[in-house]
Symmetry: D2
Subunit: 414 residues, 4 copies
């Protein structure tokens, strides 16, 4: 909850799709990408975009981008415009800075000596300042403050090694990975190929799914002959809604080439010896949807186990266990179960309270968390309640919540 209040939402979602069939396929790629992005909408609500490739020429990309939610940006008309071939990539964005401009919408398209590429990026480059300077010293002008522009320019900038295109792009990607160790999960589209890349530290998630015939979601028909296409996504939670099944994670440092025909590992760039992997803990705690799978485990299960562990490490004599809705609910249920205490709901979230939309006057500012929550006082009056939140950074949010619950009748835990 406090992470949300602090605006710690530097996430983005990336999603790509390639249909297996011969064009025109029955699989409507732009529609699949749109639904895939809807499944990643929790990672970014500021802007979104889709780029599709005609798969043959390296010039013919179709682009549609906009500010706001996926459902608002894409409609029948824009999807029709994007419907040109077997493949495309998309991006949904949450801005870290206050500036939210159409100019920063991804995927970025850039023309290079070897044709156009489209790039969708989730992550933040740790050496962005040095890379900016390096690129500008080489004579490249930079139009945005975005890390993702640095990635596109690094991909364009790398001297081409050979004439063969495939070799070329892998070399460029490896060179990029050499220039910046972390953090990025990337989709790079060129002609009829999508390259899926995760930085060697594996900081941001990325996984692959297989589109299977609908009506057979039950695990049957897993032989390759029935594959309808491939998808690649920041989180596996977007698979169910498009008729895809989880295939595997992209490994830290791995460069995967996805085509109509198959999914190939081209290389796995190792971390410096001794360095541990660095998957972002907040993905488990807060960013990800609970039904996503990371490192072989469902996010929900990890959250519940955290609650169980907390019950072991910090048991409390109390009457009830509850939560600050809603990313902490699995932990609260785990805590309650481990302690043998009843789980109840004590707060009711108003989903329609947005970011502070009007400067409140003194009176309304004092109301604080009450603007965001209703109190289910009947559920806990006169009881001692353990409240589980997903994280505590400075305690600025949990304190007024506790005050609110006390004023509404919760008893002190002695």
């Amino acid at each position: 909850m406090e992470l949300e209040e602090l605006g710690i939402r530097e996430e983005c979602g990336v999603f790509g799709c390639i249909a297996s069939g011969v064009w025109p396929t029955e699989l409507d790629v732009p529609h699949v990408i749109t639904l895939g992005l809807v499944g990643l909408q929790h990672r970014g609500q500021e802007s979104a975009g889709i780029v599709t490739s005609d798969g043959e020429s390296s010039q013919a990309f179709k682009v549609h981008k906009g500010m706001g939610l996926i459902n608002h940006i894409f409609n029948a008309e824009s999807l029709k415009k994007l419907y040109v071939s077997n493949l495309g990539i998309g991006h949904t964005r949450y801005s870290t800075s206050g500036i939210s401009e159409l100019q920063n919408c991804q995927p970025f398209v850039v023309e290079t000596l070897h044709g156009k590429i489209a790039v969708a990026h989730n992550g933040e480059l740790t050496n962005a300042v040095q890379l900016r300077r390096k690129l500008m010293r080489h004579g490249v002008g930079l139009s945005t403050s975005s890390d993702s522009e640095l990635i596109t320019q690094l991909l364009a900038f790398t001297p081409p090694l050979e004439n063969d295109d495939t070799a070329d792009w892998v070399a460029r990607i490896k060179n990029l990975m050499n220039e910046t160790p972390t953090s990025y999960s990337l989709l790079i589209m060129h002609k009829d190929i999508i390259y899926a890349v995760r930085d060697p530290y594996g900081n941001r998630p990325l996984c692959i799914g297989r589109l299977i015939p609908v009506g057979d979601m039950n695990g049957k028909g897993k032989d390759n002959s029935e594959t309808e296409g491939w998808v690649v996504s920041s989180e596996s939670c977007s698979f169910l809604s498009i008729g895809a099944e989880y295939y595997r994670e992209v490994l830290p440092g791995e460069i995967v080439k996805i085509s109509r025909y198959d999914v190939q590992t081209l290389d796995v760039v190792p971390r410096p010896e001794g360095d541990p992997s660095a998957f972002c803990i907040f993905e488990y705690v807060y960013f990800a949807r609970p039904d996503s799978i990371f490192e072989g485990q469902m996010v929900y299960s990890v959250r519940r186990r955290c609650g169980q562990q907390l019950a072991i490490e910090a048991p409390v004599e109390a009457d009830l266990v509850s939560t600050v809705p809603e990313s902490a609910t699995p932990a609260a249920l785990g805590y309650a179960q481990k302690c043998g205490l009843p789980y109840v709901e004590v707060l009711c979230k108003n989903r329609y309270v947005g970011r502070t939309f009007i400067q409140p006057n003194m009176r309304l500012r004092q109301l604080g968390v009450a603007k965001k929550f209703g109190v289910l006082s009947d559920n806990f009056k006169g009881k001692r309640v353990v409240i589980i939140d997903d994280s505590i950074v400075r305690g600025n949010t949990i304190s007024p919540i506790i005050k609110l619950l006390r004023e509404s009748g919760a008893k002190e835990v002695s």
Copy 2:
């Protein structure tokens, strides 16, 4: 859940506010109404409006309306425009028909022989067809298909009985109630007064709150001298966020006059003898926010008791109890508690799936409920799960959910 799928959301929310102090008060009335409407946003997301009165002349109303969510419609500029005096009323609307037009946004303002009135209405008139014909026969042209226009015209149409304005409006309101028995919860603003009216059957909710000094939400200072103003709302859930406390319900058939100074019952129009009250059951089941209070009981508690009762009436031998998020959660928790079975979460709702925004092709249409839910399969694989939904109308939604859970590993309940 199925109610949501069926689009049974014919609700609206009404909210009024009067500041007690001498104008200009510290209490920013348009801002309070805006936040009050945000607290009723779950009752209607299509359009909203606020009308404020300068309190003296019967002509000087300020109006701001728009399509979409409250946060989108109202900003610093529009609130400033509305800031003219001690009182105002607002409305948030969910359209029953497919047509959503600015023209149907409430509150409606209409000029009558005795000055302008603004009207906010929640409900549907059972004798609308007859009333339309009656008004047209009298020579009134009707511009919309809205029941609420009938109410404004009936209020204008009633022959004035006396010269005294107050008497006049009560007579007109009683005449309106005579013409149409149900259903309506109404706010009628004229000059410096808000009349709050509930139909004799009490079909739709309406309650009154008292604005108290902020910083003292703990029940202290309840003597009238500290009242900062009065609010009237479809649901009490909107009170906490604006620093108001629950005062009382408007009774079925009651006409309440709210002014700067106090809250007075002017009359209570009785139902025909023998007729029972008819508070809408779906308010408890689905429409209302769980922290609202109807008939002296918290909605959440009613829902939980329904679950407990179901456990008594229909116990099942199973391993787990769960819910279709999220209005059925209290019932599921009640059921689980009564049965002594563990409560788990099995579905994870994607909040960003809107109404069908693009006509899906065959493949995507078959995916059905999977577009709306993620499956937390780790939580129930190999287990027998009892699923509690808020209601079942035709079973069109619960059937595919059950199929989805089975395919994800839920065991049959024998």
Copy 3:
């Protein structure tokens, strides 16, 4: 020019169309109305609307309205929606007050005891205050401050005389004309009929055109058998662009019934004895497009004759004659010709200067007319110039123009 500066543009444009053929006709009625309104756009740029009737039921009207220019409001999609039958009416509006709201967009649609009517109105009622009071006294609530709402309510309000619909509407229209003498040019659509009405004083223009086969604009084929449909418009200037030819003016006080089959005069309501007709002089001077025909004469010719007459009444010894662009140009050319002086252009208008869009600071406010005009100083340096404007009300505009020209080198006329 000064009329423009003073914002004296209380005009509106009305346009109706009925196709002669059996539905579906080749004549796309909504498209013709749209182009007809584009031809009347100079009469109002604030909002516009079109209503079409399915021609059979008195209920089935299609409505599309919006703020802004015709080209912005109507597109392929909205025209398709409106394409339901042989007839429709449209309106383009210029607001007199500062308030510009979608609510005031015409045509107004109102349901009456005898079915729905759509009304498009150009004019201002001289007894609006009395009519408002009369209607409200009868119990009609009024939603807008618009005169046009009074007209729709008067049409609805009139007690029905007979059961026969046609008789009924003529009686209602005559009753309306009895209630309010001026000013209105009206289109009233009911089922498959458009009634075209001009007030007895003939204050605002209205004329009828005949749609003829395109490719034959040369006057051939004027027998009725080739009529493709009828149009009715505030000004005849809108005829050429849709392939219609001027048929005749609606007379002051005339009620014309236009159907698929023909154009019939139903009645001509006379003025009170002794009262002269009162066609608005500003239509000739400023409002109308110069190629429109009023009272048998082209507006351009009237303007030129005014200039010629001015040369007779007020000859000046000078070197050049010029104009304030652009409604005064014909008068200037007439003056120049009559005096035998050369006509030159001295000012160049910037069409993109809108109404004061940003509050200017002191410096920029002093620049006055220079924001609106460029000066073609080479054309008149050292010469004595006669400047003809279309009208002078207070002289607030012409004075700074004269100052500007002097400073740019124009010599004094002694």
Copy 4:
């Protein structure tokens, strides 16, 4: 007229302003630029932008861009945001291709090794294809298809020669001019300086104006001590409306440095020996506003002289001379005067006819030019009329106009 029909409007307008005073000055620079761009609106109506610099840091630029007309894009709020210092540049754009995207809005801002620059460009690079390839070969990725991006990258790309910033930018600009000979009129803003550059062939116009105290537009006070600031604009027609007087043209190949203090020529890059200058003839014929001054002569005067010359080269025995409104009017007046024939108006342009906004059906397509013009037939019936247009490319527009006039009664010129 035909140029307009053919969509030959590849123009843009650039405008810059520097206030002389110490910040904060009385001169509101963003407001002056906005009005300056309104004066250039005829050169491009698709999108516009303004960038202001804080004048000290090379990082602090404020940017506001949008689609549509200046009046629509800039308002009090956006101007306030831009109000940071003494200087800024703006651009208004007409797209040559069908694609109109916010991404292509100028001025472009790019960060280089020596800080941020903003660039506004009018023109088309003749060697764009080669330059694109050269930049990409160097490793620069290109995000748009715009020539103006090539210019920004060439300015960023040029290896810095010295540490001194001023020297640096002149060297970079000269290097740019070396790389591409034509066509460009450029404004380049860096810190507190605006560089104004015209290509050696002088293909596109650019001129400098001096802001003088308002209230003294009469030529008095031309000593430097009274200069309030400097402006630089595609056309001098934008000067009058902001209180500036024409100072001088930027010469072909000239690099001018404009600061708070003065206007300096830094260099004049020559054309290859033997090459003539190549000022675009269509600026005189069609693009420019008639009150602009190019090469020491007013555009209006050039157009009139063209008409006079035509009268000498191609005299016709006729009764009247007229024009296709409105860029050809000066030529028609010149022709008429030279021939001694009367000038009349025969066509009346409907300003509200936009680009084909709805696909017309067969009937409406045949109406052709009649959609755009009204015919003032009374002015020429039975007369032989000479029609002067600004240019004839294929004759696709003038032919139907002549047909229309004949059908409206014009007599044949034998």
